[in-house]
């Protein structure tokens, strides 16, 4: 019976075409045959182990568990589709990052950090992709909409929750900045050409990696 439950769960996850919540998986069973949640979790762990060394993996994302192709096999599998996935503009990604890390956030607040206007098109594409949505309105004149990310955003970027977002770099404390500024002459110290060249190279590499990933 347990083995049958496992087969049912695996088949369901493979066929669902979207992530499945534990509750949803449990609902596939008649009450009499339904595994309890703990058992279900164990079965899922087993399925995950079965996939070690294989082209697919079991992952928990925002809206549940899904079986997906491992990133290292993507170069081959993606050849199934003639179209290359679109790349998103920096403006769009920066807006998305601000919503992700600072939610709930208004458009005005995004513009404040980015120093430029956020185009309506960007908000529209992010909303249409179902990555962000309006979750309320700030109680200030004009009642600007507050944006937050959706579960679908988590799913898309293979995240279980917002805690799994890459860590935000630290803002250095202004006091220590001021102290440093006191000690140092503003200007350029002993930087060398080599340093700079290296910096340039690194930047290029980073850009390339980004497009290859």
């Amino acid at each position: 019976m347990l083995d049958k439950s496992k087969q049912i769960i695996e088949a369901a996850l493979l066929a669902a075409g979207k992530p499945l919540l534990l509750d949803h998986m449990l609902e596939l069973f008649e009450e009499s045959e339904r595994p309890d949640r703990k058992v279900l979790r164990e079965l899922l762990a087993e399925i995950g182990r079965d996939y070690e060394g294989r082209g697919i993996e079991l992952l928990e994302v925002g809206s549940g568990f899904r079986i997906q192709v491992r990133a290292e096999y993507a170069p081959w599998v993606s050849r199934l589709w003639a179209e290359r996935p679109s790349r998103y503009s920096r403006a769009l990604m920066e807006t998305l990052a601000l919503v992700a890390y600072r939610q709930p956030i208004t458009r005005g607040e995004i513009e404040e950090v980015r120093g430029v206007a956020v185009s309506t098109n960007i908000i529209k594409s992010l909303t249409e992709r179902d990555w962000i949505r309006v979750v309320g309105h700030r109680d200030v004149p004009g009642k600007p909409a507050l944006y937050a990310t959706t579960r679908h955003f988590l799913d898309y970027f293979s995240l279980k929750n917002l805690n799994e977002l890459p860590t935000l770099s630290e803002i250095r404390d202004l006091d220590s900045i001021n102290r440093e500024l006191e000690l140092r002459e503003p200007g350029v110290d002993e930087q060398t050409e080599t340093d700079e060249e290296r910096a340039d190279e690194q930047e290029d590499v980073r850009t390339e990696n980004r497009t290859n990933n």
Binding site: A11, L13, L14, A15, G17, K18, R66, I67, Q68, V69, R70, A71, A74, V77, S78, P85, Y88, R90, A91, M93, E94, L96, A97, A100, Y101, V113, R114, G115, V116, A117, Y156, F157, S158, L159, L165, P166, L168, S169, E170, I171, R172, L174, I177, N178, E180, L181, R184, P186, G187, V188, Q191, E193, D195, E196, E197, A199, R206, N209, R210, N213
Partner: protein
């Protein structure tokens, strides 16, 4: 000059190699590149696309010189910055507004840097660069975060959801379940909203009359008459008969029944209207 100090070899080499004008802006050849700065000629045209705003451009200039944000040499960066926006400003004035604001801010900082650093009355030491540094850092971290998010495995790019086939998916559509309680609450809601709560009292009695009204309506037709007495079931007892009678009266009042009596004390016939 600090400017000379940071002149990079590659930029110099590049400038020297070029016999031709460094760039053509609005038809005017630009013979010498701004100091410390190399702008690829085609970059000039897409400069507004290349940078995500004034903060992004400033960050670029700082990185270009391998400087820490915390050590912005304001004078020099301002000079470069102004060169940049001069070139783009002529092309796209309306788009350059945000850049001009930043230029003004830089100019202000620069002028304040020239004055001796002073404590104000509250003893707060004001580095004119502090606010700019804060904004640059703030922007830089989200710029980096955007790259980090972009590098996450993306569905359809780095990973793909499996979709095994299922033959004849049977879609059941379970009917919504309703409890009696829910029905009552709905009734209460609608009545209180209609402000009828206090005016209408529906008692046991009238409900059974109403049920009988429904029953009678289901058992008569407009096509033919039936006998009045057929509508009474004596097994329901005296109360049942009274209820049926009240139901008939209600229906007549509502003009739902037609009663015909051909002669005094003759049989009464009923049909639906």
């Amino acid at each position: 000059m600090q400017g000379d100090f940071t002149l990079t070899e590659s930029a110099t080499a590049h400038a020297e190699q070029q016999e031709m004008p460094f760039a053509i802006v609005q038809g005017e050849p630009l013979a010498t590149p701004p100091k410390d700065l190399y702008i690829p000629p085609d970059a000039l045209e897409v400069i507004l696309d290349a940078f995500e705003g004034p903060l992004d451009l400033l960050l670029y200039l700082i990185k270009r010189q391998n400087l820490d944000i915390l050590e912005i040499p304001v004078a020099e960066i301002t000079q470069q910055y102004v060169h940049y926006i001069e070139m783009m400003g002529e092309m796209q004035w309306e788009l350059a507004a945000e850049y001009l604001v930043m230029a003004a801010m830089l100019a202000e900082i620069k002028s304040r840097m020239l004055l001796p650093r002073s404590m104000d009355e509250e003893g707060e030491e004001g580095d004119p660069r502090a606010e700019l540094i804060r904004r640059l850092q703030e922007y830089e971290r989200y710029k980096q975060a955007a790259e980090d998010i972009d590098a996450l495995p993306q569905l359809g790019r780095d990973t793909f959801q499996t979709v095994a086939d299922v033959e004849d998916k049977q879609c059941e559509r379970p009917e919504p379940q309703v409890s009696l309680q829910e029905l009552l609450l709905a009734f209460k809601d609608v009545l209180s909203r209609a402000d009828m709560f206090t005016k209408h009292r529906i008692e046991r009695e009238s409900l059974s009359v109403r049920e009988k009204m429904s029953y009678i309506l289901q058992h008569i037709s407009a096509d033919h008459f039936i006998e009045f007495s057929e509508l009474f079931d004596l097994s329901e007892g005296r109360q049942g008969v009274v209820v049926s009678f009240l139901a008939i009266l209600e229906l007549i009042k509502g003009a739902l029944l037609e009663l015909v009596q051909n002669e005094d004390f003759g049989p009464i016939h009923i049909k639906a209207r």
